[in-house]
Symmetry: C2
Subunit: 349 residues, 2 copies
DNA sequence: CGTTAGCACTCAATTGCTGCGAGTGCTAAC
DNA sequence: GTTAGCACTCGCAGCAATTGAGTGCTAACG
């Protein structure tokens, strides 16, 4: 069966109409549209063909048609193709304000970004925390606190900062602390997790002498900081938006979706899989069954990879119904990525 | 009308039965209960009286009775009264593991606590971040990073630690940084937000000489750290639990509840009001209309005040249907508070 | 006088039925 | 190739009948 241009036009009309109304669209509706000069009967013939090709279906015999996953896929692929050439201008998000402000913690930026995206698109947004690949220790800083406790601030490349309060049991005088500080920074700075090996550790313990226990505790803290970057957090925003789309909330589906979003664990591993094939193009669209999370088989997910420079990167995903406005979501994500790039690419160089 | 002991027994039986089933309970059900040797007819007479007193109602004429807010209030008050004397032992939560582990960040503890409470009670839990009253600056620590940036770590009493990366524009040599570090700590340590006044600031600027701009930036960072403690965060957990209770999810209520929980802002101001009257007893129960959040008028909320020593305290709240198991929730919260006290009271003294 | 059996009554929920309408597929005519 | 016409399907709203849980009342009982 040939998919001529008229069939395509009808398919896209069905998809776009269904996006707006959420209801199956019939032949009459299409024929009354601007660009179509054919009677409902003609449309029906074409629709029968489209159904045969598996691009649309009828929910029940006496209803209009809705697109299948395959139909959406065709539509989205064509859309992404066109994107490459003509770049559509969409109103810029108020992201600039956010980005121009001094950002102390990457997490805050990500959370706010998720919120803006969610409220702008009316879909649900999830963002994985930054993933620092083969990260290195930039420096660490020890300060003494009250009664036998010291504060260890561990700073990784990419300005990931984490505090650890260590109970060392003994009270270190300022000079000793300074020495330790020097020793550790001297030996460890610029090293990655793998490079801090047993030989290095034992030689440091030796040098630290009486304070070898403290050194071990600090190394624990360093290890934990590296480890935390492995198990990056996931932020979600706009979860209640799913209630806007009846097809997602019928039955117990709402409950399942909300649970998945809250638990986040499953999302994490899914996100990992999401990145499998898309290295050439940073925006990916998953439709219905293509989504690797069971409770989201009725949704579509659009993901993008963001980068904050210095190899710091993560994923951002927009979750909505299969009839989501792919055009808008893709454009919005691209715009956001561009803005991020502009802000982070320049000052880091 | 007299509320004799038999009437009370029947009221409590209705409440407890309704807690389990979620369905209106009829006279037959009560009379078949263990401890009741009366016929349904007798029970009916008593129930008519209870209804007259406004303690129970019929959702519709041919249905059983369900408790009113007033009925619950009576039940809860009596329960809280009994609590004071006989302390019931409930199985301890696995909170000990959590508490015995080294806790670097208070937030993490709170989030995990919320998760455990939510999964243990099957209700929704919210926790306000710690509120540091008239907090003081413990110390601050400057370190130089790459190209004109310095890391300022601000530590408040109560071991609240916050990092700020400042772009100072100029490159400070280590000695200058040390001097600044000394100057600032010398002047500011032990002071509260209010005590850092304009006179102090201008005298420090003078002393800093060429680096007065840097001093200002650092003061900004300090102010922001204090400010963040004012706008304490709110963590929620177990939001999907509300789907377990059909009376909360009928119609659009689920959506409203979930939205309220995600937005959290309204919760924050509400939590403030929650603490108004309950200084003598740290556990408070709000039933139905007593809850100061509109979208939660069909819920009950049990709150407790936790304290992590050094005047660091916040609120924890369990949100469930009006037919929640108050006994279990109150016991669980008390137990949790006790465990927190035990862990934090000792080492801090 | 408190308790209970009996009975008429109420009303939500369920079931089954009907008519409506949107939409289709097919056929025949243009 | 396109269109008008028509029979057909099927979800859905509306309505009546039925069911059943539960009540309130009254009269009898110990």
């Amino acid at each position: 069966m040939e998919l001529d241009s008229r069939k395509k036009a009808i398919l896209y009309a069905i998809i776009e109409n269904y996006q707006e109304t959420g209801e199956p669209v019939g032949s009459r509706t299409i024929s009354k549209l601007e660009h179509f000069k054919f009677s409902p009967a003609t449309i029906r013939n074409e629709m029968a063909d489209l159904e045969e090709m598996g691009l649309i279906v009828q929910p029940h015999t006496s209803a209009g048609r809705i697109p299948t996953d395959k139909g959406y896929r065709l539509y989205v692929d064509k859309m992404l193709e066109e994107q490459k050439e003509a770049k559509k201008d969409i109103p810029a998000l108020p992201m600039a304000d956010l980005l121009s402000k001094r950002i102390d913690r990457v997490e805050e930026l990500l959370v706010k970004m998720a919120q803006i995206l969610a409220s702008n698109t009316n879909y649900t947004t999830m963002v994985t925390g930054p993933h620092y690949r083969k990260n290195k220790l930039k420096f660490l800083q020890l300060s003494s606190m009250t009664d036998g406790k010291i504060l260890a601030v561990v700073v990784l490349e990419g300005n990931m900062v984490k505090n650890h309060i260590l109970d060392v049991g003994e009270t270190l005088d300022p000079q000793e602390l300074l020495n330790l500080n020097f020793l550790l920074n001297n030996r460890l700075n610029g090293l990655s997790m793998e490079e801090i090996n047993l030989g290095l550790i034992s030689s440091m313990k030796e040098e630290a002498g009486a304070h070898s226990q403290v050194v071990l505790q600090i190394l624990d803290a360093v290890a934990e900081t590296f480890a935390q970057e492995e198990t990056y957090p996931i932020y979600t925003s706009g979860a209640p938006n799913i209630f806007r789309y009846p097809e997602l909330t019928g039955g117990d589906r709402a409950s399942e979706l909300i649970s998945t979003l809250e638990e986040k664990k499953e999302l994490g591993s899914a996100i990992g899989q999401l990145s499998k094939g898309g290295s050439q193009q940073d925006i990916q669209v998953f439709i219905g069954d293509e989504v690797p999370v069971d409770s989201m088989k009725d949704c579509s997910v659009v993901t993008a990879t963001y980068s904050l420079g210095e190899g710091v990167q993560g994923k951002i995903g927009i979750i909505g119904p299969k009839r989501m406005n792919y055009q808008k979501v893709v454009d919005t994500l691209k715009d956001t990525m561009n803005q991020l790039d502009q802000v982070f690419a320049k000052p880091e160089e």
